[in-house]
């Protein structure tokens, strides 16, 4: 049992973080808080990737005479890409929120839904 909990602690952390993020996305009514939740959700998956790339006794994947084992660099590279994606998603989300705030004057989801969206954008 202890082996199950302590031996796989990286997975526990990943799942817990992911669920915290998921909860925030679903339960929070504030659009910014949802984006924060989304970031935690994504970061949990990134941490999962990084943790599986660790090789016991391995060093950083840089050619070095004394190195016996290297960590697997591929997940790192994949996650660099995924981080770029995550940053762009956050940027688009925040840009949208700014526009939403200008149009509706609030970023609380229930207030926005109560207002209706038929009005044509004021900016144009």
């Amino acid at each position: 049992m202890l082996e199950f909990i302590a031996g796989k602690y990286n997975y526990w952390i990943h799942v817990t973080l992911m669920m915290i993020g998921f909860y925030a996305i679903i339960a929070k009514g504030n659009l910014i808080k949802k984006v924060i939740g989304m970031n935690i959700f994504q970061t949990a998956v990134f941490l999962f990737y990084i943790s599986i790339s660790k090789v016991k006794g391995g060093t950083a994947p840089i050619v070095w005479d004394e190195a016996v084992l290297y960590n697997n660099p591929l997940p790192h590279v994949l996650i660099l890409t995924a981080i770029v994606v995550s940053v762009s998603t956050t940027a688009v989300a925040l840009a949208l929120i700014i526009r939403i705030y200008r149009e509706y004057g609030t970023i609380e989801e229930d207030e926005i839904l109560a207002m209706g969206g038929e009005r044509i954008n004021a900016q144009r």
Partner: protein
Amino acid sequence: MNIAEHFPVLVIVIPLLSAVIIPVVGRNNTLYSWYITVAVTLSCFLISLSLLNTVMSKGKISYWLGGWEPPWGIEYVVDYLNAFVLIVVAFIAFIVSLYAKKSVEKEIDENKITPFYSIYLLFVAGLMGIVITGDIFNLYVFLEIASLAGYALIAVGRKRAALMASYNYLILGTIAATFILLGIGYLYMVTGTLNMADLRDRLPMLYESRVVRTAFAFFTVGLSLKLALFPLHAWLPNAYTYAPSVVSAIMAATATKVGAYALLRVMFTVFKPEFDLQVVPVTKILIVLALIAIIAGSVLAVAQTNLKRMLAYSSVGQIGYIVLGAALANQVAMTGSLLHILNHSLMKGALFLAVGAVVYKLGIEEISGLKGMGKKMPFTMAAFTVGGISMIGVPLTVGFVSKWYIVLGALASDMWFIVPVILLSSLLTAVYFWRIIEGIYFAVPDGAGQIRDDAPLGLLVPTMVLAGLCIFFGVAAVIPASIAGKAANMLLGGV
């Protein structure tokens, strides 16, 4: 150097580079950005045709990016399935870009038109990338390129609700993409590879592993969200309703189809059909969900008063057909499912473009606004009618062909209970389209409606082409059916 060798990568590189060039070239004159968009989507279409031709004569194409041998390098694979879907995507992108000029001028601010075309091409590049790649992580990256471009395209809509529609799609789309990323991580953890063909070889000995099954669950849920399978369709109606007409047309005709393609790839290429049928009960679950989608989509569509929202709900139902055919997992139903990818693109494309022409002319999106339009806009309404009867599934239109295949496939699998569901849904489709068609031709229009005043040719020609193809492929169904049949064989029978 033979340029034809590099076609698989050019189909991505051309729109991707052009998306960067457009903001520079079209800075002062939006017309240039439009020229580039049309030229690029046309060349993508021609390249896709040539790729299909190569596949038919020489078999599967495998392109190694940068010359790195798979499974280490990224591989682009073209076989019957993705050549078929590539052509659908590229063709619709071309037709919609022809249509875009007039419609965009009307619906989008002058200073946003050039960025709009740039993002449009990014969107197309992302979709083409999802279809052509043979590397599962690359699929995730392209999925995100297409999605991010899609969020921006929706947010351009005129009403402020477009912003919320885009935001909701962004949140749901990101959850879906993260699920897929996690699924990829699980598969990589146990197999150590990302190449789809390599995964296919290595996974069977791990089918009992809980990690692999969890990965499969994440893929299925993530992709179902992307293709808007009921009950994960919540983002779709608002997105289609509030996006500009051009965007509604391209997204309805291609984005969800590409999601369906990705699901087929994962279910039948990365995993083998035996896994779906014997190890996990995924096909049974998908059949039930697809049937609910078919009925619920039609019922919800009947209740709508906004044209675009009605078409959006009808899309939810039609996606049900595609998933149903795939989940039945026999050759005939699979052929029907693949045909429906093409056919639904044509009919939904025609319908959304026709509605876009009405919006252009009159600014009306309500169903009641179409009363007596048969006199005022005869050609647009003819295209709408063809699209409508196609959706109902009248013989000699494309809608009939794919439904026919799916019904035959259901009977071949001894699932007779599917037949009444399809009939009921066709009946409901007839209800919601017929009340519009009746209004178009038999209702008396208000005052000005008597004078003939159709949409400009720039809008009319693309709409008529799609409507014409709805009839053409309904009669000459052999042409797409033979390709779809071969693709279905490949999906079900191995390589």
